[in-house]
């Protein structure tokens, strides 16, 4: 059990120094054609993850 507190509990400072998405990034997150593509990519990645780890193994 670690008794040393984490280096920084000042959440407000941490959040304020985090990268802020640009307008372009925000537009991309809502862009219909791009998000259709990302949806496909996400599904492929999910299926690959499921295929790797949800398969059948024996003792």
């Amino acid at each position: 059990m670690t008794t040393t507190p984490p280096p920084n509990l000042d959440a407000d400072a941490l959040i304020q120094s985090a990268p802020l998405p640009t307008r372009r990034t925000l537009r991309r997150r809502a862009s219909l054609p791009l998000q259709v593509l990302r949806f496909g990519v996400l599904n492929v990645r999910m299926l690959r993850m499921v295929g790797k780890g949800h398969g059948d193994t024996r003792e």
Partner: protein, 487 residues
């Protein structure tokens, strides 16, 4: 002819029951014991909790499904386990008390050949004085009914905001040892979305309070992602989201007690503070069902079978270890109970060997450490795996090898999505592989395969969440081809 009894009809128990019924002939009996009449797709309770989905969209009655599939259903609560039988014989038995309206309180002793303990969590609201919707001062989204209450409380806050009153909404973990940080994270951003939709976000302060030492920990020690040619962390990724949405956070916090409109908490640095709120959705810590266990002579052997938290001990390595000595192999693979080859514990019911996040204590000795999550995807996989083991042992003999599914070799997804519409929502999707880091196999990327561990924000992730909602409810209703949908 064998009888398999499954205690619990959540994701793991229900999955196990459906697979067992599919794999075994009708001469074998599959019995599900659950105190609840309805099945609940708990991940979508988040949407119920902000009024964007109706309770009926996330629940359905179990009895018609089980009647159609040929599964015996007893609406009852298990109260004692007798793995060595009793004076009437050495066949294992479980004592249950009916919770069905027509037979409420009736007791029954059910004999079994195989037993699956999928009793899920006991919501431990009493661990924090004043926590919870039943006599406390906070709401919850742990059950569909809790989520309905949360939605009503949120609506009242929105009305006050519309009247020009400033409001503070506190969302997060109601104790230092909670799990399911992902659910609180998701609810936070759903509330943020609901406030924006209502046009009152500027008058509301949204505060996320968590036992995580840093944002993005999620009870799994955080993740490393690859994004746009860089390796980044779930910490930076989450902090960025909090900054974008204007959500504040309180880190490394153990909520000590909740009073009317005030939460008192201690942080990892030992400081004790209070925060006033107008709305608080705080999740409780979990305990195991703590089913008492008796040997053939009626002696209490609960502490041989369960750990002190009420979770059932299985094939994990429970030797106390410091975090530096944790190994992927510590985690169970077969979920077979200690000492009983015909008893298994899956989902939240099994006792984890240790946390996944580094456990910490405040200088005052207060444990502030996220418990390991084992809900959703991994629960379903465990249910299916144990069903296969039991089916093999019934069909091919009791010496058949067990099927395995360790959380150190399976992945999981957490999709925090806002809004049920096709165009209006957005989501933060995360996947990790494996759930339990394997630092020997993936030493440079936080113990995980970076190709299968990623975070993404956008409309596409929101569609993924909607797809999962409909797919898993279709699967749980055992509609045609249900078993082709992976857990």
């Amino acid at each position: 002819m064998s009888r398999i009894v499954i205690l619990g009809a959540g994701i793991s128990g229900h999955t196990a029951a459906l697979h067992l019924r599919r794999m075994l002939g009708k001469q074998h009996t599959v019995t599900v014991v659950s105190p609840n009449a309805d099945w609940n797709w708990i991940p979508s309770n988040i949407w119920v909790g902000v009024g964007q989905m109706d309770k009926r969209q996330v629940t359905f009655p179990l009895a018609p499904i089980y009647a159609r599939k040929g599964i015996e259903f007893k609406q009852a609560r298990a109260v004692a386990l007798r793995p060595e039988g009793d004076s009437a014989g050495d066949q294992g038995a479980v004592d249950v008390v009916s919770t069905a309206p027509e037979t409420d309180g009736a007791e029954e002793r059910i004999r079994y050949d195989y037993l699956i303990n999928a009793t899920g969590p006991k919501l431990n609201f009493p661990a924090t004085p004043g926590l919870g919707p039943d006599g406390g001062h906070s709401v919850s989204v742990c059950t569909a009914n809790h989520a309905v209450d949360a939605s009503e409380a949120l609506s009242a806050v929105i009305e006050r905001l519309r009247a020009g009153e400033r409001q503070r909404l506190l969302i997060g973990m109601g104790h230092g040892t909670c799990t399911c940080e992902g659910a609180a994270f998701e609810y936070t951003f759903n509330v943020d979305h609901a406030l924006r939709e209502a046009g009152v976000r500027d008058l509301a302060e949204v505060v996320y309070i968590t036992n995580e030492a840093s944002l993005g920990d999620f009870g799994v020690g955080g993740m490393v992602f690859r994004q746009q040619g860089f390796e980044t962390t779930s910490k930076t990724w989450s902090e960025s989201l909090f900054r974008e949405r204007g959500v504040r956070a309180i880190l490394g916090a153990h909520v000590q007690r909740v009073e009317d409109g005030v939460a008192h908490y201690e942080q990892l640095d030992g400081s004790e503070q209070s925060i006033a709120f107008d709305f608080a959705m705080l999740l409780p810590p979990f305990r195991g069902a703590g089913l008492p266990v008796f040997d053939a002579a009626g002696e209490d052997i609960t502490d041989q079978v369960n750990n002190p938290g009420g979770f059932m001990k299985v094939d994990a390595d429970y030797a106390p270890k410091s975090p530096e000595d944790w190994r992927a192999d510590d985690w169970p693979r077969t979920y077979q109970s200690v000492g009983y080859r015909n008893i298994f514990a899956v989902g939240i019911a099994f006792a984890p060997p240790h946390p996944i996040s580094i456990p910490r204590k405040s200088p005052n000795g207060t444990v502030i450490a996220p418990s390991p999550p084992r809900t959703g995807m991994p629960s379903g996989v465990m249910g299916r795996t144990v069903a296969k083991t039991i089916a093999d042992r019934i069909k091919s003999g009791d010496d058949s090898l067990a099927h395995t599914a360790s959380m150190a070799s399976m992945g999981a997804a957490c999709v925090a999505s806002t809004g049920p519409g096709l165009r209006s929502g957005t989501a933060a999707a995360m996947t990790m592989f494996p759930i339990v880091p394997d630092y020997e196999q993936y030493p440079r990327t936080g113990g995980r395969n970076i190709k299968d561990t990623f975070g993404e924000i956008g409309l596409g992730a929101h569609w993924l969440k909607l797809l999962l909602h409909h797919l898993f409810i279709y699967k749980a209703k055992a509609k045609p081809g249900w078993y082709l949908i992976p857990e």
